[in-house]
């Protein structure tokens, strides 16, 4: 008769460590899931005033307000699916948190609407690259290209024929947040002048405040 016996190196202490480690691992994974869930919520993101500024335009967009009541949260679009990817995105996003904290002490203060608007284009370009690198994966959580009908006659045909080989972000930019031109045609000077007019700044003040970091 064969007796099942643990290998000799599985001592009581090792067994205890395995059980404890396993439990800790499960708890850690659960924590990550909860953490990602919590840190993907609008309430968490807009804790920072700089993100509350981004929320203003979001709240006027169809991704927030629409007849069907489907509402995309910050994380639905800006945090990848899956606990590891989501954790990674949050880890990378942590640098923004550091900048935010740093900004309250020295350097550009992103809570300042002027500074925020001046830096918005670079943020938009980075976000577009992020979507492009992931083949617009977060869009596809809800949108299926094959199923897009649209309201106008040929929207479905365009999404079948002309959109073949493209990813959502190739065409659909400036959907939710304040309009920013494509990186290729963006003109910093013209953007600065627009912000100066919008906030009643003196000519040249925008460049000064943008360059001062």
């Amino acid at each position: 008769m064969v007796r099942l016996r643990a290998p000799l190196f599985i001592t009581r202490h090792v067994l205890f460590a395995l059980v404890a480690g396993g439990l800790a691992g499960i708890l850690f994974m659960a924590f990550l899931i909860e953490f990602d869930h919590f840190t993907s919520s609008n309430a968490f993101c807009t804790n920072c005033h700089s993100m509350a500024l981004a929320e203003d335009s979001y709240k006027t967009s169809v991704h927030y307000n629409n007849a069907s009541g489907v509402r995309a949260s910050c994380g639905d679009c800006h945090v990848s699916e899956g606990v590891f990817s989501a954790t990674w995105d949050h880890a990378v996003g942590g640098k923004d948190l550091l900048k935010q904290i740093k900004g309250s002490l020295f350097g550009p203060d992103y809570d300042d609407p002027v500074i925020n608007a001046l830096h918005l284009p670079e943020a938009a370009f980075a976000a577009r690259r992020w979507f492009k690198d992931r083949d617009s994966a977060t869009c596809k959580r809800c949108h299926d290209q094959d199923a897009i009908q649209g309201k106008r006659a040929d929207t479905a045909a365009i999404h079948r024929d002309e959109a073949a080989g493209k990813t959502c972000i190739d065409c659909h930019i400036n959907l939710v947040h304040r309009k920013v031109p494509g990186a290729e045609t963006f003109k910093r000077d013209a953007w600065n002048v627009m912000i100066e007019q919008e906030f009643g700044l003196k000519p040249g003040e925008a460049a000064e405040r943008f360059g001062g970091h």
Binding site: R152, I158, K187
Partner: protein, 487 residues
């Protein structure tokens, strides 16, 4: 009028001007001389494939037009360099929404050269001083984009986010100042996206702006024999023809384009629409005008009362900068250019007689009403009886309309053979408003000085002596007797 050059020299200038303005100096419409390898942008096919679905109407218009047939696609006209102020990224391409004369001029070289410096291309500068007084003060700035600028053209503003400011766009005003600095909008007359020849030669191309109380060219043309013949014989107008020379390709009727731009006999077609205008008709007092051609290709009008510059001299352009004068075309040469169109259908005697009748109306308007009214106003301003601010006193509107509305209608009616506009819509109203609105308002404003002022500028002048003979009888109102020997 001063003689600028001898008769020979004048004709030389006219012909030289005609050659310059008309391209190669031949009677055919200027041809695109570029190699077709200059168009057919490889990305253009993809535009059409999507836009046939997303904006089927405009794509169909393009497909129906000569551009599509020649292989000119969306990108050929809309391509832009990333550094262009109005460049945007669109589906992976760098494009501009506005296709400016500079863009059209890549192929349509002579048309764009001719139009630069014309009254059309300079239409924003023409109203520069008026916008504040009329749009801002009398009404409100909100009307400018939908009103003034739609004909004269906006100064298009590109915002920092790459969008075109809706206060300045959409706009296809003829003098539009484009983000690339060029002036004009070809699509003002050549409706996009078919750009049909026939459409641009039809008077309907002009009437979006040349209609209404101050420039009633639509109404004047329609009420003239020319307009009557056009409506009756439109099917014989050959409007879509490749070449369109009056008297050769068509002879049923003239359109606006025939007289102001079209080829006729040896006179070449030109996109300088004001080149053949001997008079400036839309001004408080009409003056004949020189056409000054600059060596850089620009040009401007100069009232005949001013000393014209010599060839080779530096002279001020419309934009205030100085340039070298190439030559000066005097008003009678401009008139001769216009008359050479008339002569395709009319005899010399009829043509010259018609021009004499026209000139007489302009001179009557000037001498009897425009100059006295202008001088009265000048005295009222000088005496401080009126504030310098325009339109805060009723007499200023009466004066404005006297020359800008009924005065313009009278002059245009005479210029383009509408008896109704020369008289009832024109000089009749000028006379009525001068005597029964303007002069009573002068009396009101001038107070004790009124009679002396009016005597100085009006009642002592020959043309107003009829007012003194109150005993003249005439049965026009149902009273009084017919004068002996009267008709």
């Amino acid at each position: 009028m001063r003689e600028v050059m001898g008769i020979q020299g004048g004709w030389y200038a006219l012909l030289l001007g005609a050659c310059l303005l008309g391209g190669a100096g031949h009677t055919l419409a200027a041809k695109v001389k570029l190699e077709p390898s200059n168009w057919g942008h490889p990305a253009g096919e993809a535009c059409a494939s999507c836009h046939a679905k997303s904006s089927a109407g405009l794509t169909q218009q393009w497909q129906d037009g000569a551009h599509a047939k020649a292989g000119v696609n969306c990108m050929d006209c809309h391509q832009a360099a990333p550094g262009d102020s109005d460049a945007i990224t669109h589906e992976g391409q760098v494009i501009a929404t506005i296709v400016s004369p500079k863009d059209c001029g890549r192929c349509h070289v002579s048309e764009v050269e001719e139009s630069q410096g014309s009254v059309h291309a300079e239409a924003v500068a023409v109203v520069g001083d008026r916008l504040k007084a009329l749009a801002d003060n009398l009404t409100g700035p909100a009307v400018q984009a939908a009103g003034c600028d739609q004909c004269h053209g906006s100064v298009v503003k590109v915002r920092g986010d790459g969008t075109l400011d809706p206060a300045t766009w959409p706009n296809s005003g003829i003098g539009r100042v484009n983000p690339d600095g060029s002036k004009g909008s070809c699509s003002a007359c050549h409706g996009r996206h078919e750009f049909s020849r026939a459409q641009a030669r039809d008077p309907a191309a002009c009437v979006r702006c040349h209609a209404g109380p101050d420039s009633p060219d639509k109404e004047v043309f329609e009420a003239s024999k020319h307009g009557m013949a056009y409506v009756a014989h439109r099917d014989k107008m050959n409007l879509g023809s490749d070449t369109w020379v009056a008297g050769k390709d068509y002879s049923a009727a003239p359109t606006c384009a025939t007289c102001h731009m079209g080829a006729a006999g040896k006179l070449p077609a030109s996109h300088d629409v004001g080149m053949r205008d001997a008079w400036r008709l839309n001004s408080p007092v009409s003056e004949k005008q020189y056409l000054i051609m600059f060596t850089d290709g620009d040009k401007r009008d100069l009232p005949a009362s001013q000393e014209p510059p010599k060839r080779g001299a530096q002279f001020e352009k419309n934009d205030g900068t100085q340039a070298e004068v190439k030559f000066v075309v005097p008003p009678d040469r401009r008139r001769q250019a216009m008359q050479s169109v008339c002569l395709e259908c009319h005899s010399k005697a009829v043509t010259e007689g018609f021009m004499k009748q026209f000139d007489n109306v302009v001179e009557l308007f000037n001498a009897k009403f425009a100059i006295p009214a202008r001088d009265l106003m000048a005295d009222l301003y000088a005496a401080g009886k009126l504030t310098p601010l325009p339109f805060d006193e009723p007499i200023e509107l009466t004066y404005w309309e006297l020359w800008h509305d009924e005065g313009a209608r009278a002059r245009h009616g005479a210029a383009m053979a509408s008896p109704n506009h020369a008289w009832w819509e024109g000089m009749y109203l000028v006379g009525r408003n001068f005597y029964t609105r303007f002069l009573p308002q002068v009396r009101e404003v001038a107070g004790a000085d009124a009679q002396a002022l009016i005597d100085r500028h009006v009642t002592t002048k020959d043309q107003h002596q009829w007012l003194k003979d109150g005993q003249q009888t005439n049965p026009i109102l149902g009273f009084g007797k017919r004068e002996a020997g009267g008709g």
